[in-house]
Subunit: 338 residues, 4 copies
Amino acid sequence: MIVTLKGNNPDPKKVELLTTWLEGLAIRTHFIVGQHQTVIGLIGDTSVVDIDLINSLDIVQNVQRIQEPYKKANRKFHTDDTVIDINGIKLGGGNFQIIAGPCSVESREQICSIAQSVKAAGSTMLRGGAFKPRTSPYSFQGMQAEGIELLLEAKRLTGLPIVSELMNISHLPLFEEVDVIQVGARNMQNFELLKELGMIKKPILLKRGLANTLEELLMSVEYIMAGGNENVILCERGIRTFETATRNTLDISAIPILHNKTHLPVIVDPSHAAGISSLVRPLSMAAIAAGADGLIIEVHNDPSQALCDGPQSLTPEAFDHLASDAHNVLQLMRGFKQ
Amino acid sequence: MIVTLKGNNPDPKKVELLTTWLEGLAIRTHFIVGQHQTVIGLIGDTSVVDIDLINSLDIVQNVQRIQEPYKKANRKFHTDDTVIDINGIKLGGGNFQIIAGPCSVESREQICSIAQSVKAAGSTMLRGGAFKPRTSPYSFQGMQAEGIELLLEAKRLTGLPIVSELMNISHLPLFEEVDVIQVGARNMQNFELLKELGMIKKPILLKRGLANTLEELLMSVEYIMAGGNENVILCERGIRTFETATRNTLDISAIPILHNKTHLPVIVDPSHAAGISSLVRPLSMAAIAAGADGLIIEVHNDPSQALCDGPQSLTPEAFDHLASDAHNVLQLMRGFKQ
Amino acid sequence: MIVTLKGNNPDPKKVELLTTWLEGLAIRTHFIVGQHQTVIGLIGDTSVVDIDLINSLDIVQNVQRIQEPYKKANRKFHTDDTVIDINGIKLGGGNFQIIAGPCSVESREQICSIAQSVKAAGSTMLRGGAFKPRTSPYSFQGMQAEGIELLLEAKRLTGLPIVSELMNISHLPLFEEVDVIQVGARNMQNFELLKELGMIKKPILLKRGLANTLEELLMSVEYIMAGGNENVILCERGIRTFETATRNTLDISAIPILHNKTHLPVIVDPSHAAGISSLVRPLSMAAIAAGADGLIIEVHNDPSQALCDGPQSLTPEAFDHLASDAHNVLQLMRGFKQ
Amino acid sequence: MIVTLKGNNPDPKKVELLTTWLEGLAIRTHFIVGQHQTVIGLIGDTSVVDIDLINSLDIVQNVQRIQEPYKKANRKFHTDDTVIDINGIKLGGGNFQIIAGPCSVESREQICSIAQSVKAAGSTMLRGGAFKPRTSPYSFQGMQAEGIELLLEAKRLTGLPIVSELMNISHLPLFEEVDVIQVGARNMQNFELLKELGMIKKPILLKRGLANTLEELLMSVEYIMAGGNENVILCERGIRTFETATRNTLDISAIPILHNKTHLPVIVDPSHAAGISSLVRPLSMAAIAAGADGLIIEVHNDPSQALCDGPQSLTPEAFDHLASDAHNVLQLMRGFKQ
């Protein structure tokens, strides 16, 4: 940690107060006196130092971390890829999976039909929303408990593990047989929810917030892991920028950056990132080429029978085509590694 | 609502399906056939129409709302300013208030001393965090229940109503005597929390999310109001942009824009917006000049006794000076009106 | 074009003024009177209508285009892919090319050595900066005229067409033998420069501005094409967002979006987007998988002899490896098409 | 300058290469060896060190400046406010001015009538666009040379100094009698233009780019000042964010931040920032309250005679009202100082 003081002539009493306090934390200090500024290097385990506290001292101009503030998720202290086991399906560390399913569970027929289609196309997990975070209170909020029931029926029918979003910790009992709990982008910094999910053992799929940095994503992971749950899957799903041609901007660089910073698996949600179904295929291919460990894709049921296809959803046929090509790209990319 | 179809020769069967469905919702349709595109105008109460559903039809290129999607917060249907009564203190509709206090409650002495200082300086409400949303699980998470107790002591001592942040609905019983419940920026779209707060009667101070539009802020208000709680105070506290000279970018335009769109009071948090104590004063003055109904300002206790002043906190003296000048600016601005 | 009026009872005299003016432009108007608002649909060639002018009328709330404001670059009016011929090298319409070379030309040895390396690795064009846009006036501004001379030597040596950035139209005579003129991100809306480049015939490589939408990029293309130069290559090179882990955020979705909106070729600059050399390979692979027509990559010379490798530059060996794998991905992606 | 090396065991030969090179630049180095990382403090005049060059070394993880990279604009080396003299009108250092006028010069009657109105209302300078940067090549590009002629007529009539935008250095001879040359937001990093403007003596009004940081703005100032022209006025005019309720987001914090970093005057353009005329007044008041040295405001001529009022322009009456209240706020703010 590097602390830059204001000017190069700070009040010696205040500086001593600071160094004494740091020594109490077993941190050694190293002074560099420049022409216009004095800088202090902090040596030791600075993860115990509250950066905001130092930053707030009136003699301090700014503080910069050298070490990352996350520990359990940090690749430096855990060099091997983490492999998450989801009811026998492995994700991460070279194990690539496609999770597919509808935005919302709408009926038994819908979810069972889609589950069978996506399984046939090579998807190994089923996604489906029962509790839906909607910007408007007047929009459909999901089938809720009944939706979870229908997902479990589809699971029994196909054997596919299921992934569904939890928005309220009081709903946790309903998720007992859900295989992966999804935390949506809007709840990425709902720290109370994260803490509770740290106390269970089920795999958590944590989506990046619309305006959160990758470091903040890893700090949110840390909330879950610090509680004892080390089964976390990260998901890039697009960030909010000034561009309006897509709903969000898929941050494709997040994949290699996260792989460098953490040992946890990283998947991509091309459907929500773009909000346009014709972009799902190119973004999926790009995600695999950039090294993603998996995809989570929206697939809707027979569009001829529904008014609502979902602007970002694929037909089962389009998904089948995508999944097949995706595996070819994956195969080629694996051949490149050595 | 304006629906633009893809091309100007859409499948007539699909178009009929859409218009029939809309008629069922008591919406009349009006077609405009252009050279390259056909546009449908929807006439009637389009608040019942799910925009995502229309948008998802394969014959549709895009949908644009003409009417705003929020109703209870909408100035159009409620032209008079809402005045919130907080234990006898009025906010909004010409009633300006300054809420002040420390970032976190740290001790009885600290909160009582600050409460007395800010009251003497003209502040009419006391803020203080007992439950703190922190990016890192390793940072201090607040004094929690004990912090609320100390806030209530400061309230009994000074008579100042108190404002404190709620992060978890299960903590609600602890907030029984808290006068205003704050929803932090990171929870602005925690819809489950908003729904629960709609079912109580206590005033809610809803902070704008770091990356949320003003329309999204009003939709989150709508979650609270739709539940029956119409006592909502909006708070602009800076948005996330590319600029790094300030922690966030205070969106000063939010004040007149929100006053135009909603009848609810709008206050400004200059301390969190900038993250730099020397900016609190100019941003406070600017907020009043732009028409804010109040300010919420961080004030810390005697800095000579504390390691941590808070980089964005004012001393009681600086706050006293600011509060006095603030009232002069307010007086002048009021003279300008009509 | 859809004009929404303020309220549904606008001043009839002002409305007539507007419709009369529109009729003079051969635009028919179509009124939709809603409950709260009146909307006017404009039918005809609305590209002649100044949207700002309409928007500025006090009876108007807002104006929305239905048709895109760009014509010559618009895929709707020119469905076939444009193929740019660069001294015999074809780019676009299925012709993929890799442009490679150093950030700045530094010496004869450097540019000639790199030119030979990248040619051997399969690059078909040489890039190199002679005039460098630098944030600081105190940074190296490029070898300028001498740099262009050295690029031309490398061209004579290897036969590779060259791409170099022009920052000042008065330098145009120096670029006579340069094959492609690059317009940098900071000059994307330097309309005076674009107009001048519209009057020559040489291919222009137009980089997207750091904070420009794809529609603005296409409008800047329109400046060049309107002047008569239809040889424009678009380049996505990352946009400015809140994320700081990468220098910019590569907008991978720009590739399929641009292919949908325009017939012009779209290439990607992974080196500048990320600003980190280890990201060049995954971003290059992703760009090809998303359908890019080419790549422009920074390659530096022997790092053991230079203090400066460029944080975003590849060694010739790394580039050779990347170029070979890139062609395999391209081959696979082509096989998917039918 | 602080250089963080990768790991704490870097190649000693490469480290020596670096330190030897730095010593050649008269920079002393100071090593701090931490548990996981080694940091080098650079002491001396680091403004001569190319940060990109250091950053690019393969042993280097990152480089952080302690000193600001701008010198001539830096408040640290020039503590007194700079006062710009514009034909006898002083701006900065306590001298507040309002520049007003139309977006574009349209006719002799228009510009002369507005000039007289704004002078009567207390404006001390006249603005007017003759060369207009327009996103579309099909939009009106301004009256050009004739527009400058008309501005000069208005100047002769009223005695008001004039401010007008230059987009192309070849137009400079036309600007001989223009008092202040404006560089628009899109040209803030048109370094070739800035260099040329550094070689004249006329005051330059430099607008912040839509996506440029305050540090980048000061570096662009440095291009002008390094050439010898120290008469630079900075202008905040809104930045590009995700919010769509306003055209841009006025960064009100830019005013105190810039006053802290530089001695140059800072003015605000509320008209372009918001793009909505009803926001011009509150944003103007806020700008003064935050300490702006001036305002630049769009005022249009008689709206009853023109189709185009400009969505962001005020009527002469509204401007008169604003200017009068602005001076009252200014008076109050001045009373607060010391």
